[in-house]
């Protein structure tokens, strides 16, 4: 891992990985969406609305996956001052927040035909909503300082504190839910899922993961380029580097 603490080495690797991640993401999402929307059977109970699942469930997986990645990257940036891990955490946060929002919105759209309401205070929905706020807090804290390094360190501590809290919040929300309303919702986990539905689901999950890698690499490279540009500007302003030629 420490081999890639060197940004130059990381950029070289990232440049090589990026087209593959992009191709994999487009391929899997394209095929997954085709299977999900056209060539998979409608559910015997839920009818056509079950197709929302192929967008919703992998998004919820990615919401949690991204938070864990973000916290792990934050921990390694705190422990080893790993510069690229820092960038990875910063690049993961908005993507994870977007997946969380996608899961919430599609869940709400799915809930309307299934449960007859846009929102229920179900334990799962509530904890995903709280996860979304944890992401927003992280992003807000990161941008709250004039010194980006300070923002990165503060946000890293918050991410580690948050990941310890996520299971506690999950547990307490489950408890709260069983206290307030007995399980009354029909859930999906009746019969084992059929392969005609599992294939598009897994394709979408793989596509989302590749999409995440792709977006994270773009964001990290942009961040590194920005740092470089800022350093050059500073050097120009202090007069130690020649100004670039007017063109």
């Amino acid at each position: 891992m420490h081999r890639f603490a060197n940004p130059t080495r990381f950029v070289r690797l990232a440049g090589r990985v990026q087209p593959w991640a992009a191709a994999l993401a487009l391929l899997c999402l394209g095929a997954g969406l085709y299977f999900a929307l056209f060539s998979s059977p409608p559910d015997y109970q839920q009818g056509e609305t079950v197709r929302i699942m192929y967008v919703h469930v992998p998004a919820a997986w990615m919401a949690m996956f991204c938070y864990v990645v973000m916290a792990a990257a934050s921990a390694s940036s705190l422990i080893w001052r790993h510069r690229v891990a820092d960038l990875a955490a910063k690049a993961t946060a908005p993507v994870g927040a977007a997946f969380t929002l996608l899961a919430l919105v599609t869940g709400s759209l799915w809930g309307k035909p299934m449960w007859g309401t846009w929102w229920v205070w179900d334990a799962r929905l509530t904890s995903v909503l709280i996860l979304f706020f944890l992401y927003l807090g992280y992003i807000a804290l990161q941008n709250a300082f004039d010194d980006p390094a300070r923002g990165a360190r503060a946000a890293a501590i918050l991410a580690v504190v948050g990941v310890i809290n996520v299971p506690i919040i999950k547990f307490s929300v489950d408890w709260w839910n069983t206290l307030h309303q007995p399980a009354s919702l029909t859930r999906l986990d009746g019969p084992a899922i059929h392969s005609s539905m599992l294939t598009p689901l897994l394709l979408m999950a793989l596509g989302y993961t590749a999409l995440y890698v792709w977006l994270a690499i773009i964001r990290m490279r942009a961040e590194l380029a920005e740092t470089k540009i800022r350093a050059i500007r500073y050097r120009q302003a202090s007069g130690t580097a020649p100004a670039p030629q007017e063109s």
Binding site: F133, G137, A140, L141, F145, A154, G162, S172, V173
Partner: protein, 221 residues
């Protein structure tokens, strides 16, 4: 241990000399509770049903509003840097600061809460359990708040930011605090909720000094 008692004494002395602050927090607490009947209607049935939630949420907000007192003035006049440099371990110092914060804000809230329970038509059994749940829960609020308050030191719009950071972390404490009172009002067993609250407090006491000390270090670095 010296570091703990010395810091605690210093914080309490500062709070006493500046006076008023604790009173303001309690007044805020009472005012928020008073707003709820105005917003939700004065029917005693409704109020006694949601009374525990009202008092807990108001306590959460009052604790959150007073978080800037933990470090802000020390950060501005530079004494926070001296505390970081002092030979006492910073973890102990922030623990003492959180304890002082609880003594000057959490404790007055607990003292004021039975009266508010009466105003909200809460039954005597519920008030007793609410006192216990607040006693277990509010120190945990101070401990968790000690992390977030250090993270936002020197941030733009730190006051609004801290609410975004802190309130999601307060949710478990709120759930079990209100859950214990609700169980008592329904004449169910409330021991499990109180025991989980106690566990949360112990967990916060064990872990949050480390995180808060790390947060203070990065704030003054």
């Amino acid at each position: 241990m010296r570091g703990f008692t010395d810091t605690l004494r210093r914080e309490l002395r500062l709070a006493l000399r500046q006076g008023g602050d604790s009173l303001l927090v309690v007044m805020f607490f009472v005012l928020v509770v008073v707003l709820f009947p105005l917003g939700a209607g004065p029917e005693p049935g409704i109020l006694s049903r949601i009374g525990a939630g009202i008092i807990w949420i108001s306590a959460l907000l009052a604790a959150m509003l007073s978080m800037d007192r933990l470090y802000q003035s020390d950060f501005e006049d530079g004494s926070l840097e001296l505390l970081v440099l002092s030979p006492a371990p910073l973890e102990i110092v922030v623990l003492a600061k959180a304890a002082a914060h609880w003594l000057t804000t959490g404790l007055p809230l607990i003292v004021a809460s039975p009266l508010l329970g009466l105003l909200l038509n809460l039954e005597a059994e519920g008030i007793g359990v609410m006192l216990v749940s607040l006693t277990l829960g509010t120190p945990a609020l101070s401990l968790v708040g000690a992390i977030a308050a250090a993270l936002v030191l020197g941030a733009r719009r730190g006051g609004v930011l801290i609410s975004l950071l802190i309130l999601p972390l307060f949710i478990p404490i709120l759930i079990f605090g209100v859950g214990a009172v609700d169980a008592a009002l329904l004449e169910l067993t409330y021991r499990p909720q109180l025991m989980v609250l106690g566990a949360l407090l112990l967990l916060a006491a064990a872990l949050s000094p480390w995180a808060a000390a790390a947060a203070v270090r990065q704030a003054v670095a």
